[in-house]
Symmetry: C2
Subunit: 341 residues, 2 copies
């Protein structure tokens, strides 16, 4: 069935230079896709000129204002307000005009607007940012990656529900395993909040909760879903990005430093390209906001055309899943379980 | 001047198989070094047979007991007690018989024993685990890496003092820069504790405190010293280790998957070896416990002979520094500053 993706055409480091061609590329790859582009109408139409795309599948909705990359969430809501392309794009989901919204704009502002416009699902106190973490064989779903600095044990369990539903419905895992990020696997490790959350997770996911996972387990893929607070998750994500970049630098350096190294690099060039692809963040979509009454995808601010198109294509997949009903089923199970205490 | 290192000969995953040969190798490389080996005397002497080492620079002190890798800190103190090789080795520093203690045993137990035996320096409430984090050009000192799950803002500032003194005195940085690990560089980011600590750091290190650093800045080497709580630090460290291991796996995989890849690998083999060395954790020592009235080095549990010898050699360097007087100078400065408020 055809899906409609609403796009914040003004968002991201490169704005229209990336979003318009990204949308055209996604429309070429996904025949069932329609898009609504929110932003400066004349600029968008100018960009669309001479582009090859199915005209009946593209709608442009004019918005006067733009949420800048450094706009504070509170200002995005109060000062920039409802006339921004970001607001329009999320609001289209709330009004049922689109199935999913995507923006590569400022994460904090997008989360702020999304929470106000879509509100959290009944039984979920806080929305969370999730992303896919690469491991040897596949990806793990990790959340929260920065929306909630401090959380209660119950909120961690709610994140568990969100991550589990996501892994199950979008990545077709029948019984995803789920772990809590901690600094050791023994029961007495970590904060009281984590220890409490662990007990609750055991009750809610008796078969699939595997207990604590450590930082290195993220890349080892020890569990399909990894739950943490937004502070720790953000530090872990950025640390991994920094480490990958550092190693990339070492690789370039080492091969450039000798003739045999250079020669080896030239001969193995394709292998290197394959490695680069494997580490290419564009192959991953950005983050997905979970826990709201509506789907919002946050593409990387620095996304290029390919990256943005991949994120749109992923958004379609997301909107075709039954993540919402999976989430509600688990919330009901949690309520049922709690009422028995 | 000759330095004496007390060694927990029974510690680590490989025990005597690594510690004895590691000590012999360090003695060969550092002519001024003497060691005291704590552990099972007959086993140690058996191992020392046929080894080439300066007999007058090795003392063996018999200990009945061993702290196992999975012994809980509280049991290491109460149950195993003073007869363990770990206790003996740290106690030698307290009694002035050795300049620095080294163990590759269980980190929690070693920290527990060390704190009880050596006590924290006046003005430092909690000892911290520090380590060196590789970056493009050099290393940064990062702490705490796991000793203190939850900290106050004042304790973070104390860690700042410890890290700064360490970078200055052991790595000869005149004015090390210092940063606080956080999830953004803007003032309003992070927890209240971090925000409070940041204000205090500004006062204590008006020139050298550079504000917040993010997870990716660890590998970019944005500051010479990075301060964080033990929970976040441990997650970051293990995440980086996991990421490096995952990339290593991808590299091996990609080059093994095509003939040209294999050929490129063979020709560039030396370059690859240089890369591996650069990423080799053995070239780094393990952690250093900071904030105690005495120096304790924690070598990796899985250290091999080369890794353990490097850690011993680093211990000597540490004991030759004026880290203790640097720390005390800064504590005095902090007290002076506080009394003016």
């Amino acid at each position: 069935m055809g899906k409609i993706v609403s796009i914040d055409a003004m968002g991201g480091d490169h704005g229209l230079d990336v979003t318009i061609d990204g949308a055209c590329l996604a429309l070429k790859n996904q025949k069932e896709l329609s898009v609504i582009l929110f932003g400066d109408e004349s600029l968008i139409k100018e960009k669309l000129k001479n582009r090859n795309y199915p005209i009946d599948k593209v709608e442009v909705i004019h918005c006067n204002k733009v949420v800048e990359m450094d706009t504070k969430p509170i200002d995005a809501i109060r000062r920039v307000g409802k006339e921004s392309s970001m607001w329009g794009c999320v609001n289209a989901v709330s009004e049922g005009k689109a199935d999913v919204a995507i923006s590569s704009g400022n994460t904090g502002a997008l989360m702020g607007l999304s929470t106000i416009i879509l509100r959290t699902i009944d039984g979920i106190e806080r929305a969370a940012i999730s992303s896919l973490w690469p491991n040897k064989s596949n990806y793990s779903v990790v959340l929260d990656l920065g929306a909630n600095i401090e959380v209660t044990s119950d909120q961690l369990v709610q994140f568990g529900i969100l991550g589990y539903s996501y892994a199950k419905s979008v990545f077709d895992k029948d019984n995803p395993t789920i772990g809590l990020l901690n600094i050791g696997h023994e029961e007495m490790k970590g904060t009281e909040i984590i220890q409490e959350a662990s007990l609750k997770m055991k009750d809610l996911f008796p078969k699939d909760y595997i207990g604590y996972v450590e930082g290195d387990n993220l890349s080892l893929g020890k569990s399909d879903v990894v739950i943490t607070d937004g502070f720790t998750g953000n530090i872990a994500l950025k640390t991994a990005e920094g480490t990958a970049r550092l190693i990339g630098h070492f690789i370039a350096d080492v091969f450039a430093s000798s003739i045999r190294g250079k020669l080896g690099y030239l001969i193995g060039k394709n292998a290197f390209r394959a490695l680069k692809d494997k580490m290419d963040p564009r192959e991953l979509n950005g983050g997905v906001f979970l826990g709201l009454n509506g789907l919002v995808v946050k593409s990387h601010g620095g996304s290029d055309i390919l990256g943005f198109s991949k994120a749109i294509e992923f958004s379609t997949k997301l909107s075709q899943s039954n993540i919402s009903s999976e989430t509600k089923k688990l919330i009901a199970k949690k309520k049922d379980y709690e009422s028995r205490d």
